[in-house]
């Protein structure tokens, strides 16, 4: 039995949420799917590093250098523990999830995919898990196939085996950043493996919100990013099975990715450093470790339970107050979704919604959410997206509902 989250207590750990204002009103931050706020402990961990122990990593043999290196590598152990990676050697620090996916496309993709090879995507991916593959298609002539979205905003897996027939890779999100849809990753990964394909999981919206076990998910590659899980921007993670990383060629050259350089050639370092060229994001990795500590302190089961309950409250509240004036583009069942609410308020454009919400101190994202393929499937140009996290509570949802009512009044619905 986990201790339930008290968002009022959690909120006190986030300086921006308690101190900052927008138009003279307290901040109601509902844009965590874009980027989350940071607790004091993350800010302190980074400050403390710069004030007391900062030096470059894997270079100086003096005490500061050794200490920073140990803390950086300790952050890798945190990340491995957090997603239950079998080995910390399988954790590659990147800049963000986009770089993690691009790393796979550049290194594994260019070594293993030739003209006519098939990569399977889904219609609900965001651009970071589409564009690298489109680039490979232009460069190599690979074929892309798409798992369609079903009527109820889940994936339509009825033709999965045909789509995967002859495929080399399935690249799929674990949770949609627009719909909140949780995809059946294990089922998809098993089907991919049965077809002889590998499975890449874009877990940027999943790892911050649900307990994650890369082995249980059946993933071969899994990417996530620090800034959406209470950590700093500039740090992300690619997890991959060790034998895949071992076999993949390095793709950025210089710094820690080198073992030996001669005039006539070079030898790469061992994994994971083979993929960490140049001075890495040191303080950011240490900030991410503090964010992981914070989330583990809450307990990821409790995080999921809190968000599930709050999502239910939000759907009930908004449906009750706005009825068919309001559409929520996402699955209705709470087990099938996370706390992302993509809203359409009759014919008020999402930009105009967010403009009025801004006056109420409510932060939501309006736009296509870097998912233009999905926008076309939904038949809309944009949505207004409210996304929930550990520091949100029912009052935040009520303020959102009041602000939406004001929006409806203003545009005379």
């Amino acid at each position: 039995m986990t201790t339930p989250i008290d968002p009022a207590v959690v909120k006190r750990d986030f300086p921006l949420l308690t101190k900052a204002e927008m138009h003279g009103r307290p901040i109601v931050y509902l844009d965590s799917a874009s980027s989350s706020q940071k607790p004091q402990s993350v800010l302190d961990a980074m400050d403390e590093l710069y004030e007391h122990t900062y030096a470059n990593v894997h270079r100086g043999v003096y005490e500061l250098g050794a200490e920073t290196t140990e803390r950086y590598e300790s952050a890798r152990r945190n990340a491995a523990r957090f997603v239950k990676a079998p080995s910390e050697r399988e954790i590659v620090f990147t800049k963000n999830v986009t770089e993690a996916i691009n790393l796979v496309a550049y290194s594994w993709g260019r070594a293993n995919l030739a003209e006519g090879d098939v990569v399977v995507l889904t219609e609900i991916e965001h651009h970071a898990n589409i564009v690298p593959w489109l680039m490979l298609r232009e460069e190599r002539g690979i074929e892309l196939r798409w798992i369609p979205m079903a009527e109820d905003y889940t994936l339509d897996v009825s033709s999965l085996d045909e789509l995967l027939d002859g495929a080399k890779l399935l690249a799929v999100t674990a949770m949609s950043n627009v719909l909140g849809t949780l995809t059946p990753v294990r089922q998809l990964a098993d089907a991919a493996h049965a077809a002889g394909a590998l499975c890449l999981v874009d877990a940027a919206q999943y790892v911050p919100h649900l307990p994650t076990d890369v082995t249980e998910l059946g993933a071969d590659f899994l990417g996530f990013t620090g800034h959406k899980m209470l950590g700093p921007s500039g740090i992300g993670v690619l997890w991959a099975r060790a034998e895949l990383l071992e076999a993949m060629p390095a793709f950025l050259g210089g710094g820690e990715m080198i073992r030996d350089v001669r005039k006539d050639g070079w030898t790469p370092n061992e994994i994971p450093w083979k993929f960490e060229a140049g001075t890495p994001p040191i303080a950011e990795a240490i900030g991410l470790a503090a964010a992981i500590d914070y989330l583990e302190g809450l307990g990821m089961d409790a995080v999921r339970a809190h968000e599930r309950e709050l999502t239910g409250y939000a759907i009930d509240t908004l449906t009750e107050r706005f009825g068919d004036q309001l559409t929520i583009h996402g699955p209705a069942a709470l087990d099938a979704r996370g706390g992302v609410l993509s809203l359409a308020l009759r014919d008020v454009h999402p930009h105009d919604i967010s403009q009025v919400l801004d006056q109420h101190g409510v932060c939501v994202r309006a736009g296509h959410h870097c998912a233009k393929v999905l926008m076309k499937v939904l038949g809309v140009g944009a949505t207004a997206r409210a996304s929930l996290y550990v520091y949100n509570d029912e009052t935040d949802v009520d303020t959102l509902a009041d602000a939406l009512a004001d929006t409806a009044d203003f545009f005379s619905l």
Partner: protein
């Protein structure tokens, strides 16, 4: 609502709710040009009929977007209909000058580095209502989308007359 009157003037909301010159024109003879605002996914299509005298004989707007981009497009279509290409270019310059102080500092579009060299002395009329957008810098791209698309359409139509 306090703070929003400057943005959402009554005339803007009127053009949003009742867009003028909405629709399409047969291509050719009309020129068709698309504009995108990558920030928000707004899309606009401008159809232009330019007669032998270089006059905008007809204009239609389609696409979808927020109140600011759509009302700006609607007001633009009313303002340029019947004007010559040269008059429209001056009007576009004057409109963009009203909007461009912030736009150029947000994202240089190559032509408005520093102060604009010369702003044509053109009456903006109803378009003045959009002046308040400057106070909301993220919306300037919405207000100028139709005008940038129109400018591109005129350039293409003049370079490649049908």
């Amino acid at each position: 609502m306090p703070g929003l009157e400057d943005l959402y003037r009554e005339i803007i909301l009127d053009h949003y709710r009742n867009p003028r010159n909405r629709g399409e024109l047969p291509v050719p003879p009309a020129h068709r040009v698309e504009g995108f605002n990558p920030l928000c996914g707004d899309e606009i299509v401008v159809y232009l009929d330019i007669d032998d005298q270089g006059r905008i004989d007809d204009i239609r707007i389609s696409g979808q977007g927020c109140s600011i981009s759509q009302s700006s497009a609607s007001m633009m279509s009313s303002a340029v209909k019947g004007k010559t290409v040269d008059e429209v270019r001056d009007l576009t310059k004057a409109f963009k000058a009203m909007m461009s102080i912030h736009e150029s500092s947000l994202e240089g579009d190559g032509e408005s580095e520093g102060e604009p060299a010369e702003v044509p002395d053109v009456k903006l009329g109803d378009l003045e209502a959009l002046r308040g957008v400057v106070k909301f810098p993220v919306r300037i791209k919405c207000a100028t989308l139709a005008w940038n698309t129109l400018a591109q359409g005129i350039d293409e139509a003049v370079d490649h007359p049908s």
